[in-house]
Amino acid sequence: MIQEKYTGRYQNLKVAEALSNNHLYPFACNELSSIIDLGYSRFPKDLKAFIFRDCLSAFRLLPDINTSAAVSAANLLVKSIESAFPKQKKNVAVVEFKQAKVALKRRSKSHDELIDMPSLPQDILVHIFSFLDVSSLLSSSQVSRSWNQATCEGSLWRSLFDLHFSHKVLIHIHSGIDWREAFKNEYILYNSSKMLRSGRGYCSFCDSVVWHESLRCPKKQCRLKSGKKPLDLMLTHQVVNYLLGTTSSSDESDSEDEAVCGLWAYPTLQ
């Protein structure tokens, strides 16, 4: 009976779906790694089969995703597999992984010639950026000069602030407010990087662990009900606990005492 519970919960987690999503792929791989690391030996046979299947599809999808974040995540997954899987399954998985690496290499070799790209006007850039999450927005700010200028747009940071912190922080809005700074301060204060690392949240309206979209439940009804309030974000080990039905408080190996800042440089050098 208990065994079925595991499998059922795993299905609910919808890890496999996330693998085909470009953005969620690294999150999903990391979650798989954690699940394997923390509980593989205890799982019933059918759950082990599901996990095995998902690992294989992760490797098969890797060439399509083809970002460095995805490659790193896949590497981590292979490491977990190597230490936990029985010999035969391990070999199959590793072979799949190696094939993926070869496919990746082949793709990177076929580079298109220098294409003359049209330059996007600033307000279009800002509009595009309005759909991005924090991490991607910061990446974009480092791409080129014109993109960097576009990312300085206050409205972008204001809506991110609203998204992440408005339910927690009452802020006096004066005319000259620098929303980017305000966001940054709250982000560091609330140690947001840690919570965002899993890509997971708990939705109380549908009572499930979901891959959050902009901190909201992907289901429309839940979004309507919750209004402005974001999901409760979850750490990966909490997700694993949910799967295993345990309540261990063991935190991830990284000690966050020093590294409070995540995305921003630690401002010690002033």
Binding site: T67, S72, M117, L120, S141, Q142, R145
Partner: protein
């Protein structure tokens, strides 16, 4: 009977009205009115200039520059589908998903063109698609896809981005790098002043004789002079080296950087380590840097190199081979292992 005739005749006699549009390159085409009117900009033009506008080839409505003929036909296809009132939301969604599948270049053009025609739904659609492409990628990857130049200085890349997936050890390294960088910068400033002073003292002749490696006699007697010149030459070279090495190593280092998931600090620190080594290893140098400090810096650099190796090996990655830093004869650090190609 006559009524039936009329009924048959009427629709045939009904003329579909067309609007003439002219793109920036001069080509003119005609479009069904209801399709073209779906674009707010065209609509406004027609209303503003009166009903005569766009009614014939001669007074075609000229479209903004960003709309080329290819984009125009795409946009008109979009309009043609959506202006039909009878379609369900789901139909429209399905159509849009298919419609938006195109390469990045065309997506950019489409977004531009739609924006200049004020066709907001299409602007949203293309912007979202572009956002999906950008999501989760490192700056280098984005630059590659959009063919954008890397024209920001290190200072402007103010706050280093760390991938959310990052290993905490990498974060620690980043912070140490940032510290290092600052120290090195301050020292650069000090040295910069000294170099400027010395350059003035040398004459062109001295330089020439040194370069040509002339008279042995001259060499013998002025050995000490030569040493001085060497020192000065070397100092001057340092700034050149820094620059050229920066260019040279950028591509190599960028690969590593991206494999680390966007540790954009890395390239600059590599260069700083290079420069640090060329400075401190040069025995002639006596620029006021006391040996204790130099020793400490040497130790820190080696510590870094060790940390780099160990953390990269420890954290994920069969493909991340440890990059070995070694100090070879002339005092410059060199990467031994190339990155996995």
């Amino acid at each position: 009977m006559s009524e039936a005739d009329m009924a048959i005749i009427k629709p045939e006699m009904m003329m579909k009205s067309y609007i003439w549009l002219e793109t920036a390159d001069g080509s003119i085409q005609q479009v069904e009115q209801e399709v073209a009117m779906y674009c707010p900009m065209i609509c406004h033009e027609v209303l503003q200039k009166g009903l005569g506008a766009g009614s014939s080839k001669n007074c075609a409505i000229s479209l903004p520059q960003r709309v080329n003929p290819a984009m125009l036909s795409l946009i008109l296809d979009y309009c043609r589908f959506h202006q039909v009132p009878g379609r369900s939301n789901k139909e429209r969604k399905v159509h849009d998903e298919k419609f938006i599948r195109m390469d990045t270049k065309r997506l950019c053009e489409l977004a531009s063109a739609a924006d200049s025609l004020q066709l907001k739904p299409l602007v949203d659609l293309s912007s979202r698609a572009l956002a999906r492409i950008i999501e989760g990628k490192t700056p280098e990857e984005i630059r590659e896809i959009f063919h954008l130049p890397d024209d920001l200085t290190e200072e402007e890349k103010l706050e280093p981005l760390k991938n959310l997936m990052d290993d905490p050890r990498i974060r620690l390294l980043n912070r140490l790098y940032a510290k290092k960088r600052k120290e090195l910068k301050e020292r650069e400033k000090l040295k910069g002043k000294e170099v400027e002073e010395r350059v003035d003292e040398r004459s062109v002749d001295d330089l020439l004789s040194f370069i040509n490696g002339k008279d042995h006699k001259v060499v013998k007697t002025s050995k000490s002079k030569k040493k001085n010149k060497k020192r000065k030459e070397h100092k001057n070279k340092v700034s050149h080296n820094l620059h050229s090495k920066q260019q040279g190593t950028q591509s190599v280092v960028d690969e590593t950087a991206s494999s680390l998931g966007g540790v954009s600090n890395l390239p600059s620190i590599e260069d700083d380590i290079f420069s640090l080594k060329t400075d401190s290893e040069d025995g002639y140098m006596d620029d006021g840097m006391d040996p204790a400090l130099r020793e400490m810096l040497d130790r820190e650099v080696e510590d870094f190199a060790r940390r780099l190796n160990s953390s990269w090996v420890l954290s994920s990655g069969q493909e991340r081979q440890p990059v070995h830093f070694s100090i070879n004869g002339n005092g410059a650090t060199r990467r031994l292992t190339a990155i996995d190609d």
